[in-house]
């Protein structure tokens, strides 16, 4: 039994505690960088130990915790978790580097970032529903502080909205988990919170929750789904996201978009897809998912088009991109599902660049309103270079990771969800539209003299963005390292779903 994962989770936690106690900014950020760096190292070791061909859970470990409720500290990774673990351990150190110049209460700032790392790693590796839920909740707290201490003018509204909105979602999810747990207990008569055991017993559920209105199975399914799609977030439960992003500090936005949203997608693959075939009305559920997905894609796109604030635009683009994840998952074809997983991974990298760009512009020009910017490329060539790369990746340019994901999703979902895929394709043009339009107005064109003297991004900022860009291109040209493990896991994942199609196709 290996202990990589618990080590990887523990180190940022310890690092956070140390960071809180440090006095100077120097110490704080060094601690943050070192401890997140160590986690990165561990995750790389895990990657090297990871057997791509093996479809099940690997590097797993289990420690007893609360026997009376059958709760164990059990961790492990497979094709769903490993890439996201990698993503987290890549993004956080880069965020720390990007935020190297933070001056406001640095020790708290870096400490909270490390706490976030602990939380997301826990979510992506826990195999026990109880533990999963705990990490799921813990993640909220540091983000609440990141927004409400370092945030913008409406930070209080945004922070509390974020907290309560997602908290309600996770509580609903918790109820569904209760039901699953009880069901498993009735069958085995042994308390057990192990995710896979609970999911395994789901098909054996029966009966109506509300007679002739909704069956227990469907209710549980929808409860879980709600918990996840609010986190993703999917239209119409997305409105907390733009507010949170607009107010959050850059580092906060990066973590929020790159990692926290992925928790929702992770849940989709870990929980929803395996259950889908066994729910009482899979057709309806698939349709529901597909509608949510496409709605998010198009709605997000058009909303992004309408935004005046660059960062808000990026926020809506996240909604639109996460829509692809839902769509791919709904198609229940191995490659579409692994495409959706890859979309999560690549969006994590891409959105990092986008939000960092917004941060640099905000910091340098003092505004993010597209209309007030203009021609900043003249004074910020380095930024323009990485930012353009990020935007192109975000609009799905081939050769960048985003394209691989969207291609896989669209091309493989069509067989099961033709209508929805066509609608999604329709969105692509507009996606390109708002990205380029924003670039044209904000970055290119004649320099807006009102901005006064503006300077290019600091080297550490540009560096961390450049690293992300390189990764985006690398995975755009050679996705196999992560894609293979995703496909390996996705194939058995949808085996039971073979032949299922939505109500509307």
């Amino acid at each position: 039994m290996t202990a990589y994962i618990s080590l990887m989770i523990a180190i940022p936690l310890i690092g956070a505690l140390i960071a809180f106690l440090t006095k100077t900014r120097e110490q704080a950020r060094v601690v943050a960088l070192v401890s997140s760096g160590i986690s990165l190292l561990i995750s790389l070791i895990m990657l090297s130990r990871f057997d791509t061909s093996f479809t099940g859970i690997q590097l797993d470990e289990i420690h007893s915790w609360i026997p009376s409720l059958g709760i164990t500290l059990s961790f492990g990774v497979d094709g769903i978790g490993m890439p996201l673990v990698l993503l987290s351990t890549i993004v956080i150190p880069l965020t720390v580097i990007f935020a190297w110049g933070e001056t406001k209460e640095p020790n708290k700032f870096y400490g909270l970032i490390l706490l976030e790392l602990t939380g997301v790693l826990g979510v992506f590796t826990s195999l026990d529903f109880f533990v999963f839920y705990i990490f799921w909740e813990i993640v909220l707290i540091p983000m609440y502080f990141l927004i409400s201490i370092w945030g913008g003018p409406r930070k209080d509204y945004a922070a509390i909205k974020f907290f309560i909105y997602t908290h309600i979602a996770s509580l609903v999810m918790l109820l569904a988990i209760f039901a699953l747990y009880f069901n498993a207990w009735q069958i085995t008569r042994t308390p057990d919170f192990n995710m896979f055991h609970l999911l395994k017993n789901y098909p054996l559920l029966e009966g109506w929750l509300i007679p002739n209105v909704i069956t227990i199975k469907d209710a549980i399914f929808i409860g879980l789904l709600f918990g996840f799609i609010v986190k993703m977030p999917a239209v119409p439960f997305h409105t907390w996201l733009p507010d949170a992003h607009v107010e959050a500090p850059t580092a906060g936005s990066v973590i929020l978009a790159a990692l926290l949203l992925k928790m929702g997608g992770y849940g989709l693959f870990r929980v929803i897809v395996p259950l889908l075939p066994f729910s009482d009305s899979p057709g309806k559920m698939i349709t529901l998912l597909a509608i949510i997905g496409v709605l998010s894609i198009l709605y997000g796109t058009f909303l992004a088009l309408a935004q005046r604030d660059l960062k808000k635009m990026v926020a809506y683009s996240s909604i639109s991109h996460m829509g692809y994840v839902t769509l791919g998952a709904a198609a229940l074809v191995p490659l579409s599902v692994s495409g959706a997983m890859f979309q999560q991974f690549s969006h994590g990298l891409i959105t990092g660049v986008l939000f960092m760009s917004c941060g640099v512009i905000q910091h340098s020009a003092g505004t993010r309103i597209i209309g007030d910017l203009g021609g900043i490329a003249k004074h910020m060539p380095k930024l323009t270079f990485v930012m353009l790369a990020g935007f192109l990746a975000s609009l799905g340019l081939p050769g960048m990771s985003g394209f691989i994901a969207e291609l896989l999703i669209l091309i493989n979902s069509y067989a099961n969800l033709p209508t929805f895929v066509i609608l999604a394709l329709f969105g692509i043009v507009f996606t390109a539209g708002y990205h380029l339009w924003a670039m044209q107005r904000a970055v290119f064109g004649t320099f807006n003299e009102k901005l006064g003297h503006i300077h290019d991004g600091a080297d550490y900022e540009i560096a961390s963005m450049a690293v992300l860009v390189l990764l985006i291109i690398f995975f755009g040209l050679y996705p196999n390292p992560v894609l293979n493990m995703m496909t390996a896991t996705a194939t058995p994942l949808v085996r039971d779903a073979a032949g299922l199609v939505g109500v509307i196709v």
């Binding site: 409105t239 058009f302 692994s338 081939p398 050769g399 091309i411 067989a415 064109g445």
Partner: protein, 665 residues
């Protein structure tokens, strides 16, 4: 041995791109030599491969990529001629650019991007599968975006770049949809056991596609091919997605030359040519015996040829005229694929590609000449030029040659049943063939509309190109600048191109038979010619209209027999319509782009999001109500203890009632 290094054809320019981008500043003239060397290398390799595989070999290399896709190289006759043309023309343009861009501070970026541009185009040409084709295709689009917006500080340039990318993007999405549909259909026939991918081949390889095309449901195939054609329409600026091409003039002239001659726009035609077997396999439901997709291709092409030419007549920006001429010529190529495809099978590919390559030479030449003129005069407006002939002879002469070639001047001796081969410019050979095929098509299918388009377009072509030449080079100077001939680094390429513009045409027969053979392995050997001997008048007509056009321009713009300014100033509606480009920019950008998409769709979405979902539901209904309740309930706590006691006793009473309701005793 060259074929072993086929991959280098693409990789060399890519490497050059990276090096120039990061080291360019330190090197001579912004590192221009790197891309030049790289592309020269690509050219040499291509040439080597050509001699290796001629007459009937081909190069196929392929590696698995991700999922069930692959990356690979396919060099068959169709590809190799494109390779030679692209590398050669692009090489000349790069050399020319050393002079043309000499004063620009951002040279490294320029040469890096053009190098990548070439690489992407080469990628398109070399692809052995539709996905890789699409990816390179998109990268071409990206580079065009970067290069058109090269002077990004000019708002017009930034806007043009965006327009180019978006409009072609519309096409790209159709193309992608086509790929999706194809992929699904192939999987379907595989699943149904009627088809299986040859071991060692891959799902989306062209060879696989062609085999599968025979089994796919015909209507589906029509959709697929039409979607592909949609992509081609976008990239090759066919109607109705032609609007971006004239605006693309915002970039440096050399870039325009690249886009119009060597790269980008030809990709669309190449796509149709590349997937020609699939087009040919579609059923003929409208005109019997004419595959539907080819019919559409023919009509769109023909119409575009004419439609663009009309606008070419009135443009005053020297580059705009050329741009519309490009659109129109691309129309010819599509027309050729459509009509000849219907009557002469795979020969269509040869015919169309021949025009494509010929056009590449004389259009590149035209643009470079224009560039040289602009370089000298410092304006794009032909009304401010004039009398340049004396000052810049080389430019003037080479441009005149190009004009002749474009107008398709020549003597169809063979067409006149004389025992001699035809004599004429490259354009003459390629375009006549197309028009004759259009006639043949009309003759066999009783549908002469494409032919009509072609002939009228030919007339207009000759008129506007000579109008351009006369206004620019003859008459008295209309600006007080002191133009001078361009440096050798710019004029040498002109001369070389001029040679090709004149004499490339003589390779016609060999070219046809060689290139048309590309698809023998799917469609079987193509039968010769249009199948009929066209009457003399048909053979002569193209030349006649060409000459006629020349004479008209000569009369109006040189002899000034009738004063154009009257017609123009009298603001007649037709002229307005043409000058405003059929109001395409207004409709496209303003109405569809801004009004509908942004103002209507996006803003209403914004309203729903902020005001209804967020404002109404979350903030008001949930938030405000809760607070209100809180305040109200709070007031119950009066602080007077009797009320508390009363409430307590009241509670007891309530419980009693409840229990009664609850069904107690």
């Amino acid at each position: 041995m060259f074929s072993d290094y086929a991959a280098l054809i693409v990789l060399l320019p890519v490497i050059a791109f990276v090096l120039t981008l990061f080291l360019g500043k330190k090197l001579y003239s912004g590192g221009a030599l790197l891309p030049i060397a790289a592309i020269a290398g690509s050219f040499i390799i291509s040439l080597g491969i050509f001699f290796e595989i001629y007459p009937d070999g081909m190069v196929r290399q392929s590696l698995p990529w991700f999922a069930n896709f692959n990356i690979g190289i396919l060099i068959d006759p169709l590809a190799i001629v494109m390779l030679l043309m692209v590398t050669f023309v692009s090489l000349l343009i790069h050399i020319y650019a050393v002079g043309y861009m000499s004063h620009d501070p951002a040279k490294p970026r320029y040469f890096a991007e053009t190098s990548l541009f070439t690489a992407a185009m080469l990628g398109v040409v070399l692809s052995d599968n539709i996905l890789q084709f699409f990816i390179s295709w998109e990268l071409v689009g990206l580079c065009s975006f970067l290069l058109i917006g090269f002077w990004y500080h000019k708002p017009s340039a930034a806007a043009a770049a965006k327009k180019a990318f978006l409009v072609t993007r519309v096409g790209d999405v159709l193309f992608l949809a086509g790929i999706v549909l194809l992929y699904v259909n192939i999987n379907e026939i595989i699943a149904s056991g009627r088809f299986s991918v040859v071991p060692g081949n891959f799902l989306l390889q062209f060879s696989t596609m062609f085999e599968a095309a025979k089994l796919i449901d015909p209507t589906q195939l029509t959709y697929i091919t039409l979607l592909f054609f949609g992509g081609a329409v976008g990239k090759s600026g066919q109607f109705p997605l032609h609007g971006w091409l004239p605006d693309a003039m915002e970039g440096p002239t050399t870039v325009s030359a690249l886009i119009h001659a060597a790269t980008m726009v030809t990709a669309g035609v190449y796509l149709v040519a590349r997937t020609f077997p699939m087009f040919a396999a579609t059923p003929g439901t409208f005109v019997p015996g004419v595959p539907d997709s080819l019919l559409v291709v023919a009509y769109i092409g023909g119409f575009t040829a004419l439609f663009a030419a009309t606008m070419g007549l009135v443009m005053n920006d020297i580059k705009r005229v050329l741009a519309y001429s490009t659109v129109s010529q691309l129309g010819y190529m599509m027309l050729a694929l459509g009509t000849a495809g219907a009557v002469a099978g795979a020969n269509a590919v040869g015919i169309s590609m021949f025009h494509l390559i010929g056009h590449a030479f004389f259009k590149a030449l035209l643009f470079l000449c224009a560039g040289s003129v602009i370089h000298a005069v410092g304006t794009n407006d032909i009304r401010e030029m004039g009398g340049l002939f004396g000052k810049m002879k080389i430019t003037a002469i080479t441009m005149f040659i190009a004009a002749l070639s474009l107008a398709g001047i020549g003597i169809p001796l063979a067409g006149l049943r004389l025992p001699i081969f035809n004599i004429g410019t490259t354009g003459f050979f390629s375009k006549d063939a197309i028009i004759e095929e259009a006639y043949a098509y009309g003759f066999e299918r009783g549908d002469y509309i494409p032919y009509a388009f072609a002939v009228i377009a030919a007339l207009l072509t000759s008129i506007y190109i000579f109008r351009l030449w006369f206004m620019a080079f003859t008459g008295k100077p209309r600006s007080e600048r002191h133009p001078h001939e361009s440096p050798g680094v710019m004029t040498r390429p002109l001369m070389i191109l001029a040679v090709f513009a004149l004499f490339f045409g003589f390779t016609q027969p060999a070219f046809y038979s060689y290139v048309s053979a590309s698809f023998d392995f799917v469609m079987g050997p193509a039968y010769e010619g249009g199948g009929i001997e066209p009457p003399v008048i048909v053979v002569l007509l193209p030349v006649i209209v060409g000459v006629l056009g020349f004479l008209i321009s000569y009369a109006i713009y040189y002899k000034r027999m009738l004063d154009m300014s009257k017609i123009i100033s009298s603001g007649n509606p037709l002229y307005k319509l043409l000058l405003n480009r059929y109001y395409e920019p207004t409709i496209g950008a303003n109405i569809i782009g801004v009004k509908l998409t942004h103002d209507v769709a996006a803003q209403s979405g914004e309203f729903v999001d902020r005001k209804i979902i967020d404002g109404l539901v979350i903030d008001t209904i949930i938030g405000k109500t809760t607070f209100f309740l809180g305040e109200a309930a709070r007031k119950l706590q009066t602080g007077v203890v009797q009320n508390y006691a009363s409430v307590t006793l009241l509670g007891v009473g309530l419980l009693l009632i409840l229990l009664k309701l609850g069904g107690g005793v």
